[in-house]
Symmetry: C2
Subunit: 462 residues, 2 copies
Amino acid sequence: MEGSGHGPSHPLSGFPEWLPAQRIVEKRAIEIISRTFELHGFASVATRAVEPLRELLRKGETSKEVYVLQRLHADPGAAAGDDDLGLHFDLTVPFARYVLEHAGHLTFPFKRYQVQPVWRGERPQDGRFREFYQADIDIVGDGELPAHYEVDVPLVAAEALTALAEIGLPPVRVLVNNRVVADAYYRGIGLPDVPGVLQAVDKLAKIGPDGVGALLRSELGADDDQVAACLALADLSGGVEVVEQVRALAARYGVTGPEAVDLEVGLASLTALLVQAETRAPGVVVADLSIARGLDYYTGAVYETVLVGHEKLGSICSGGRYDSLATDGSRTFPGVGISIGLSRVLSRLFSAGLVTASRSVPTAVLVAVTDEDSRAASDAVATRLRARGIPCDVAPAAAKFGKQIRFADRRGIPFVWFPGADGEADAVKDIRSGEQVEADADVWTPPEADLWPRAVPTTTDA
Amino acid sequence: MEGSGHGPSHPLSGFPEWLPAQRIVEKRAIEIISRTFELHGFASVATRAVEPLRELLRKGETSKEVYVLQRLHADPGAAAGDDDLGLHFDLTVPFARYVLEHAGHLTFPFKRYQVQPVWRGERPQDGRFREFYQADIDIVGDGELPAHYEVDVPLVAAEALTALAEIGLPPVRVLVNNRVVADAYYRGIGLPDVPGVLQAVDKLAKIGPDGVGALLRSELGADDDQVAACLALADLSGGVEVVEQVRALAARYGVTGPEAVDLEVGLASLTALLVQAETRAPGVVVADLSIARGLDYYTGAVYETVLVGHEKLGSICSGGRYDSLATDGSRTFPGVGISIGLSRVLSRLFSAGLVTASRSVPTAVLVAVTDEDSRAASDAVATRLRARGIPCDVAPAAAKFGKQIRFADRRGIPFVWFPGADGEADAVKDIRSGEQVEADADVWTPPEADLWPRAVPTTTDA
């Protein structure tokens, strides 16, 4: 009989895996996020893990390193082509394909959420995740999509993240910008390669204003005035007052004509987002004109989200509006969506010690076994407790009670149940306080706080 | 702006994907199964999707076609070796690796459950699933594992499957056998290649007794008596009375000496399983001496499970005991586990029309919008309802109320809320009955049955 390992395994870099107590936190986080999404009417969707390579590579996303699949026992003569599959690198591409494939069975506007792993074939030495969970929402219309959804999406995401305070997550701030504003402004100052400018500005946090300036000069031929105009725009952040500041900059740097008209369209949209967000969730949404988002398919609002006090972590939740999420040639589906980097959030919660699980198992009660001949009596107690929704386990062996209590203690199980011998009453012991009381398995219930394991903010009391 | 599809997509054979209403059923099934596992003290574990190829191929499972990963942009000069990864084809191999890798942080016996997709590179034309969800439980010990867990595991799985009656699943029957019995019996009648015999017997349902007999003759050199002995054993099924029938067959076909002693060990274990199961869950567990399980790592109890009335579907839940789930050379971890074929179960529920979701969205209430200028008032109603845990959505546009009601109706949303104009009271309409009542968003609550979408058995009333 051969075992499945010949030596101690080593963790695979980039593929995070949680211990049972951490998994309790992860499950709770997914529950909280999913419930928030469902309260807002988003339907759950799960897509397959694989897509045809032609779908994955359609947007030329060569920077997202795709994992390609090959059957180990592929027929040597089999044609490749249609059957070339890769793992999805985000949840947007598979959702766009899902919408097209099932459009006849969906009702629009269609609001969906999706919590699944994604894979990116990063170089292992980069120390980046190669498998991680995302939690996405998108709203997609058939032909048209009302602008008010650009307000809903970041607010729903912020509500979900704010609800994670229950498990120790610090507050979040959603940073918003608008592609129409950026597009009109850059064209208006004489830089028509808007995607190029956005890619340069997107590097601001990494290479600083001087670096971005140098890039704009070398890659786009920008002059001093244009560089100053770009950096001045990227420097703006705050409440709805930024709208007036953008206007002032546009006037100073000579944005006129059709670009000035387009700029007003974008600013109206940005104003509506900021005003409505401030009414519905004061202090959560902030304008930040440096938000560029590298991807070229956004056409309206764009979002990034920082964890207050952990800004260096980068955005934990990003997205935006796109006029064409998917199209089959005759129908076009515009959308707006946002993606929570669930693994990134959890990883920070764990590494910063912000969250603690109350135990490592679901079990609230360990039923002790007096001797192996009476195991059936202990099983019967467990059955009665479970019938009333109390998670319990029966001791693995009829060891000394001290050892059985240690079994519970090592897992954080709060209660040990002792079946009474020969008509005596049963007893249950809270092994934290040592308090023991007589109990009836059809009646006794643990305190609500002990019934299921909980994930709670780590207390920092001395 | 390029969309992500140029023509209608075609479903990818072998990768099932559910519509939103079906996904509600799937989510509910996972909830029910997970809750049962947790009530029995199983901790949730999620492993990464990939394993090193050397782990996946260790047991020579060439019949499980492995999907190998390749980075699209792999460095041409990069060494392969350690970095060769494949998608897991079951949840047992990754769990064994998880146990070895994290043994220092786990407490044994360790009970875990795991609900995740697995991948098998089947030939597409076989019409078999290439991606599907399994729901596994395993109990693993450090060095030793008490025999009573061989009783717990099939009963917990049966309890989970029985609870799925809530969503229309027919009753299940767990068929059990014991490898020690089979091993002693086959050796005792003079067929020492036990794995070979098991592989032949495993084909009984597919090729019939004559086919199995022919295989035993051609592959293992069995004579008429030996073939008769094998087929007679495989023909036994029922309650604990089969134990005596096995003894009679063993006597008739000349099982003596050490094999007779081993047989009694196996029969004692089978008896204990049947007797205890009958006490704890009458009628669920049945002995079936034809259950072979192709895999050679089982060493004690083995299980298969059929859906009553859908026996042709094959086993929906299989597993067994293995003395060495994992080993690092110095420590050995025995285990017992079982795996529910969740996608297989759901696929049958859908194709047989056994289950119906009460609606396709989480939304219980659609808040109507009188005109776009008063959208904020509708948003405010929705916020008050959500604060009390009522899932709701706001109409996408201030269309005529008839159109807004049809929006709700097409999704199965039971209630439409009309904000009152100018100090008038709000009203809520049950669009199924047409009944409309005055309502306050801080007080009104839908009936419990309407609060969240439900998955229920399809009623077949005329």
